[in-house]
C-alpha cells in the first residue's frame, strides 16, 4: 500500500499549479471515521508553526504583538485538493479562485479540545 510520512509534511512549502507558493503546511486535521483515523484537511498558512503555538492564548498574544500572525493568510484545504504523494513538494490540485474559497474567514472556530 502507498504510504506517506505525515511528519515530513510539517512546515513544507505548498506550491500552486502556476508554480507560486501559497504558504507552509501548519497543521493536518484528522477525524475519526468508524475505527479509522482519516485526514480531512490541511491548514496552510504564512507562518508554519503558528498552529502549534496557537493552543495558548499567550502564544497568540505574543505573535500578535510582533504582527507575525496574519490570520487571513490561513487556507483550510480539503484532503483531496493537495497531492501529498511526494512529501518534499506538496502540490495544490485546485485552481486559483477555488483556493480563495478555502481562505479561512475571520471567525476561525476556537480550537476546542
Amino acid at each position: 500500500m502507498a504510504t506517506v510520512n505525515l511528519d515530513h509534511l510539517a512546515g513544507r512549502r505548498v506550491w500552486s499549479e502556476n508554480g507560486g507558493s501559497i504558504g507552509y503546511i501548519e497543521e493536518i486535521i484528522a477525524e475519526q471515521d468508524g475505527d479509522d483515523l482519516v485526514v480531512t484537511e490541511f491548514h496552510v498558512g504564512i507562518f508554519a508553526a503558528f498552529e502549534r503555538l496557537s493552543a495558548s492564548t499567550i502564544g497568540t498574544a505574543l505573535l500578535d504583538v510582533f504582527a507575525l500572525r496574519r490570520r487571513e493568510g490561513l487556507y483550510r484545504i480539503p484532503w483531496d485538493k493537495i497531492d501529498i504523494s511526494e512529501p518534499a513538494r506538496p502540490r495544490l490540485l485546485c485552481s486559483e479562485q477555488e483556493l480563495s474559497g478555502f481562505k479561512a474567514g475571520s471567525q476561525r472556530r476556537k480550537t476546542s479540545h
Partner: protein, 406 residues
C-alpha cells in the same frame, strides 16, 4: 509541613547553580574590583531564577512532564534540536569547569596539581550517581552545602558598611573599567540564570513525585532555595570587596588568591572552610550538571529515565551521564585552567539563554499541560522580562568577552 522538608531540592539546585566555581569566581572578581557595586546583578539574577524555577516546578508537578519534555513535545523535534545542542554544549563546559573546581580544591588542600585530580573526581561523582538515588544526592549535597554559609558568617563578621551594601543593590554606572564592569554583570547574570538550573529542578520535582498538592511548597522551595544561593553569592562578593579589594588585590584571576578571602577572618580554619566550600559546591554542581545532561537526552528522546532506577533499567540514561562525566574530565586532566573555562562557559550560557526561556512563555500558558495552574500576569511579565534580558545578554556577551573578558 512535611512538604517543606523537600526544601533540599531547592537548596541542592541553588548550591549546584549559584555556588559553583563560575559564580564563586565571578562574585569574588566583582567584589575585588568594583566593591559592592555589582550586588544588583546577583539580586536581579536571583529574582529571575526564582520565577523560572517556580514555573519549572509547577509545570512538572501539574503535568508530570519536565521542561525539556515540554519543549520537545510542544515545538517538535526540528525546533527542539537547537536548545538541545546548545544546552549539551554549555552543560559540557560547565561540567568540565565544575570538575576543575573540585580538582582545584583538592590541589589547594594537598598541593598535588589539579590535573591529577580530574579523573578521580569524575570517577567518584560517577560512582555516586551509579549507586546512589536521587534522594541521597539531594539530601547529601544540600546538607554539605550548608558549609558555604561560612561566607555569610564572614561577611557579617566583617561589619561591612551596610548602607554601601544596600546602595550596591541598586544598579549604578561604573566609574572605571566599564567594559569589565558590564562583562562581570553579564557573567553574574549568566551564572545565576543558567538553563541547567531550572531544567534540573523540573526533573527533580518528578523524581520526588511531586503533584498538584506541592504547588504551595514549590513556591516556598523555589523562593527560599534560590535566595539561599543568592545570599551566599552576595556574601562572597562582600567578603571579596572588604578583604581583597580594600587591600589592593583587585585582579582576582588566579584561583590561588581565592582562599585569601577567608584567611584573615578565620585564620587557618578560613583556609579549611574555603577549600571545603569550594569542594562541596563544585561537587554538588558536578552531580547536578551530569544528571542534567542525562535528563536532557533521555527526556528529549522519550527514554525511561530516573536516578532512583537501577542503571540496568535505564541504560541509555545512565550511560549519558557516565560518558558526560568522563569526557568532561578530559580538558581538566589536560591542564586547562578551570577559571578560564568558567568565564567562557558563562558567556555561552548567557548567549544560549533565550533558547530555553522563550518556551516558558508557551509551555506555562498551555492549559493542556498546566490546566488552571497557568501563569498569572505577574509570571508572564516576568518571563517576558527574562526573555528580553536573555536577548540583551545574548547580543552583548561576545563583544563584551572580547573587550572586558579577563
Amino acid at each position: 509541613m512535611k512538604k517543606l522538608l523537600e526544601i533540599s531540592l531547592g537548596v541542592v539546585t541553588s548550591v549546584g547553580g549559584f555556588l559553583e566555581v563560575g559564580s564563586m569566581a565571578t562574585a569574588a572578581q566583582a567584589g575585588a574590583l568594583f566593591g559592592f557595586q555589582l550586588i544588583w546583578a546577583v539580586a536581579l539574577g536571583t529574582i529571575c531564577i526564582i520565577f523560572l524555577v517556580e514555573m519549572a516546578g509547577r509545570f512538572a508537578a501539574v503535568s508530570r512532564h519536565t521542561i525539556s519534555d515540554g519543549i520537545r513535545e510542544r515545538f517538535g523535534f526540528n525546533a527542539f534540536i537547537w536548545p538541545l545542542l546548545a544546552a549539551l554544549l554549555v552543560n559540557f563546559l560547565v561540567l568540565s569547569a565544575e570538575i576543575g573546581g573540585v580538582a582545584i580544591a583538592a590541589e589547594l588542600a594537598t598541593g598535588i596539581g589539579f590535573q591529577w585530580w580530574a579523573l578521580p573526581v569524575a570517577f567518584f561523582a560517577w560512582l555516586l550517581l551509579w549507586k546512589g538515588t536521587f534522594g541521597l544526592i539531594e539530601k547529601g549535597v544540600s546538607i554539605l552545602g550548608l558549609v558555604t554559609l561560612c561566607f555569610v558568617v564572614a561577611a557579617v563578621m566583617l561589619h561591612p558598611d551596610w548602607k554601601g551594601v544596600a546602595a550596591g543593590a541598586v544598579p549604578s554606572l561604573p566609574q572605571h573599567d566599564t567594559a569589565k564592569y558590564w562583562f562581570m554583570a553579564v557573567s553574574i547574570l549568566g551564572a545565576s540564570i543558567s538553563p541547567y538550573l531550572f531544567m534540573f529542578y523540573s526533573s527533580g520535582a518528578i523524581e520526588d513525585q511531586w503533584d498538584k498538592s506541592y504547588l504551595g511548597a514549590n513556591r516556598a522551595i523555589a523562593g527560599l532555595g534560590m535566595t539561599f544561593g543568592g545570599t551566599i553569592s552576595v556574601g562572597v562578593l562582600i567578603v571579596a570587596a572588604v578583604v581583597l579589594g580594600a587591600n589592593g588585590v583587585t585582579e582576582v584571576d588566579d584561583y590561588n588568591q581565592l582562599p585569601l578571602m577567608l584567611i584573615p577572618i578565620f585564620g587557618f580554619w578560613g583556609f579549611v572552610l574555603f577549600v571545603a566550600s569550594l569542594a562541596v559546591a563544585c561537587f554538588g554542581a558536578t552531580l547536578e550538571v551530569a544528571l542534567q545532561q542525562a535528563y536532557l537526552v533521555a527526556q528529549g528522546f522519550g527514554w525511561t529515565w530516573g536516578e532512583d532506577l537501577k542503571p540496568r533499567d535505564d541504560p541509555g540514561f545512565s550511560l549519558v551521564y557516565t560518558l558526560s562525566l568522563f569526557l568532561a574530565a578530559v580538558p581538566i586532566a589536560l591542564g586547562l585552567d578551570p577559571l578560564k573555562l568558567t568565564i567562557f562557559s558563562m558567556a555561552l550560557t548567557a548567549a544560549s539563554l533565550p533558547l530555553t526561556v522563550v518556551p516558558f512563555l508557551i509551555l506555562l500558558n498551555d492549559d493542556r499541560y498546566v490546566g488552571e495552574h497557568r501563569n498569572g500576569v505577574v509570571s508572564n511579565t516576568a518571563v517576558i522580562f527574562i526573555i528580553a534580558l536573555g536577548f540583551v545578554l545574548a547580543v552583548v556577551t561576545i563583544p563584551l568577552q572580547i573587550f572586558g573578558g579577563t
